[in-house]
Symmetry: C2
Subunit: 327 residues, 2 copies
């Protein structure tokens, strides 16, 4: 019997999960939930679409609901609400609010007897898992995280809100020389500016004041003021042709020492190069849906994160096969 | 109360664990077990030394015994034997015999009510864990493992057994161009020879036939015949000065695709650069000792591997703190 999956929300992430479930040997997609008019949505696989308010009716048809909404407005309400009927997975990524979200999902899951896994993806997610493992192995050391090269949706949106900007794409780029220093084991102290640069591609409205737009970008507090930023004005055609992808990635390092004189240096690096940020995140969500199902089958309930789940739960093969082939 | 650790075996690995335990905030080293004459061993920290046959007497004084013997002759017997009295951790690395070792340790642990964690280190160990996670996330893809640059003890020993060789050190070196092809996402088919080269530094006996030694190395089946091997004859002084370290490392890649047309490529890379292979392995063993202790406290018993243990168990901080700081 296959694990019966539901998807809540049909944006980039939801479409990615639809595709990932199709490629999983042990899963089937049963339903899509939406807050829009269900009839207005045609899924790629022809999966039936229901209104979010009908969730309860699907209670016995779905093992794991994968939430694909946004962290700002959707997930804080939807994840605990849907945890009343299903095991749930989300990619909640507002780092500062994770403890609060955790306790709300935990309460809902425990009351309903379901399993919730929150903040699944790559950061938070696989990067968090790697930070935890590497810190545990090398307690005397230093962490570094670099992001990119990739598109930051938040920064792209911030540029789009500037007067005179029609469209924009922002790339976060790690500074190669800083990366090299970390990889060489120098354990450098790096400022925000020394770690990443930002590159913006902007389509301006006709007649807009380009110099003013560029200044507005480069001096924007929090988003750009602390970085060296480059701004390129391009045509709509060029935007469409060269910047329609959503690549991303990054690296987590732990540089630590061992030995009585701390004389031996070790560098652990976990690195991701992703052609499609949402499709990779969807793939991580789908693997953790398998874990949530298995944990629930074992009788567990409550909220978990990637830190609480053993690797074997994510893999379709059984424990014996994994030991024989992967160890 | 600190986790009370014992070490069985005092070679490079045992010494590394002694140092790692000293740097762990929540552990104390209680005893060293040896098969040698206890009085002949002086530990770095002054930890008391007992004969292996006295293990049972230490039953109530030690929470986790970390086994630091060899996979060929020590661990297959010692790990199940010591699991009768303690939670145990080992670094058993004879890949083909892991299923058999697992079932013997599992039986001993279940009978005694203890937890055993086998095959802990980096390969098997962190590399296995990363293979499992990456395969689960990217089911459509290809795995690559490279080792080095680093000293292979097995290959060094093989060279030392050749007539006329006084001392030898063998480095395994990944082929840079093959690495680059994998990192670029080419998913190449690579032969053994295309992935790694081998470099040997040899101190010959006086009057030995150097050409004969070089041929004996380069044509040695299993160890060297399938590789491009370089042999350097050096003096004892040079060996001592430049080749006394035991560095190692390597990389595990998963190169996979997502999307309806499999049009998006993703590369996951986990990479280690280690100044001291035994001290890093010791650090991994020590982190998993913490996990074994906690699992046992929860009432679990039986044999586990790194695939069966959630990351949070390894880290000294509690779950709440980890969520707040690492996610």
């Amino acid at each position: 019997m296959k694990i019966r999956i539901g998807i809540a929300g049909y944006g980039n992430l939801g479409r990615g999960v639809e595709c990932a479930v199709q490629h999983a040997p042990d899963m089937e997609l049963v339903a899509l939930l939406t807050r829009r008019e269900p009839a207005s949505i045609q899924t790629h696989t022809g999966t039936p679409v229901y209104h979010m308010s009908d969730a309860e009716k699907l209670k016995d048809q779905i093992d794991v609901m994968i939430l694909c909404g946004g962290s700002a407005n959707d997930l804080p309400k939807q994840t605990p609400a849907l945890a009343r009927y299903f095991n749930v997975i989300d990619s909640f990524d507002t780092h500062a609010k994770i403890p609060e979200h955790f306790s709300q999902v935990d309460a809902a899951c425990k009351q309903a007897g379901t399993v919730g896994v929150i903040s699944v993806g790559w950061d938070p997610g696989m990067f968090s898992l790697n930070r935890a493992l590497a810190q545990a192995i090398l307690p005397n050391g230093q962490d570094y995280t670099f992001w990119g090269k990739g598109v930051s949706q938040g920064h792209s949106d911030a540029v789009r809100r500037i007067e005179g900007v029609k469209d924009a794409r922002q790339y976060t780029i790690p500074v190669e020389s800083a990366l090299e220093r970390v990889r060489r084991g120098e354990n450098p102290m790096l400022t925000t500016r020394e770690k990443h640069t930002r590159e913006c591609f902007v389509v301006a409205e006709e007649g807009a004041d380009l110099a003013k737009i560029e200044t507005a970008i480069k001096t924007m507090p929090n988003y750009f003021a602390d970085y060296d930023t480059t701004v390129h004005f391009i045509s709509e055609e060029e935007m469409q042709k060269n910047h329609s992808g959503i690549p991303h990635g990054g690296m987590v390092f732990r540089c630590g020492v061992t030995g009585w004189e701390q004389e031996h240096r070790h560098i652990i690096e976990y690195s991701l190069k992703l052609d499609s940020n949402p499709e990779f995140t969807s793939s991580v969500l789908t693997a953790y849906a398998r874990a949530a199902y298995r944990l629930h089958q074992e009788g567990q309930t409550g909220c978990k994160t990637v830190l609480d789940i053993a690797p074997a739960y994510l893999h379709p093969a059984d424990a014996e096969q994994l030991r024989a082939t992967l160890l």
